[in-house]
Subunit: 151 residues, 2 copies
DNA sequence: TCGTTATGGTTTTGAAATGAAACCAGTTGT
DNA sequence: ACAACTGGTTTCATTTCAAAACCATAACGA
């Protein structure tokens, strides 16, 4: 049912990641999950997406171990979708997308939602790619090398 | 031609980012660009995707200011697609997707391509979300607040 | 307890996107 | 001059999307 080979070779971890995630809707579902959304109906209202598409996305995300289904936390007979450890591993990616959007798609002073350090209510640092010794690296300072065992 | 309103409200920067990027193919194109790929044919061979789809994605990415078209660097009459400043701003996102894939989709010792600090040939640090004071933050330590002017 | 509404989907169906292949114009190499 | 390469566009069959209708179960209210 779930199509597994859109990005064929997938010797590249980026491709495997995108394959598992599926599409942009899935990333918005994951974003909502980080904001505390857990129920089917909540996701649907928050995202305004068709129920059949949401259903398919959630099914795919569960199949890929990004979400898991748990009994509803309010004691009702319904179920909830919560991020697994693997799913929570996408936090930096979501933050990266958020910061990129903030930096390039909003006019100075234009309103948008904001992600804060809960403890101090301060904005987050911009994500930085760093070398082992702590140097901040740009694309030019990095080098992709072909497949190696033991990476 | 380019559909602009897939994720409707887009008061959220994550949604605006995904809207601009378009889909997973686009992220793989951007990944390839970080690896130095510049020509249409190179992208097409690297990704194994249909030429009409590649054409449409590149057109969209150029329209969103993520790529720009420049004269070929080898002096021929052809053109090349290179990342703009905005496009290069996605570096952390690509690295995030790569690290997530490395962490969750490969068996111990399974071969995959690797991104290194070019200067020392060392692996990169894992991306971390940090507060202004430098603390590493998980999803639970962050709080999304609704639209504010002056973010 | 019975009817009503909310929840969490699935099915149906027309519209849109995808992708393989054929085609084509301009460029480069011989 | 001719052949091959580059960088696409067009065509068309297939797949996916998305809106709406539908439906079963659960919760709620009187």
């Amino acid at each position: 049912m779930v199509k597994l080979t859109r990005f064929e070779t997938a010797e590249c971890p980026v491709a495997r990641s995108l394959e598992a995630i599926g599409d942009g809707w899935a990333l918005l579902i994951i974003r909502d999950a980080f904001d505390g959304i857990r129920r089917f109906g909540e996701f649907q209202r928050s995202l305004g997406m068709a129920k059949n598409i949401l259903s398919a996305r959630l099914r795919n995300l569960v199949a890929h171990g990004i979400f898991e289904i748990v009994p509803a936390s309010d004691g009702s007979a319904y179920q909830e979708y919560v991020l697994t450890e693997k799913g929570r591993g996408l936090f930096a990616v979501i933050i990266g997308l958020r910061q990129w959007g903030e930096g390039f798609f909003y006019a100075e002073g234009e309103a948008h939602s904001l992600m804060l350090d809960r403890e101090h209510g301060q904005a987050l640092q911009p994500l930085q790619v760093r070398a082992a010794d702590g140097r901040v690296l740009g694309p030019q300072e990095c080098l992709r090398v072909a497949a190696q065992s033991g990476g």
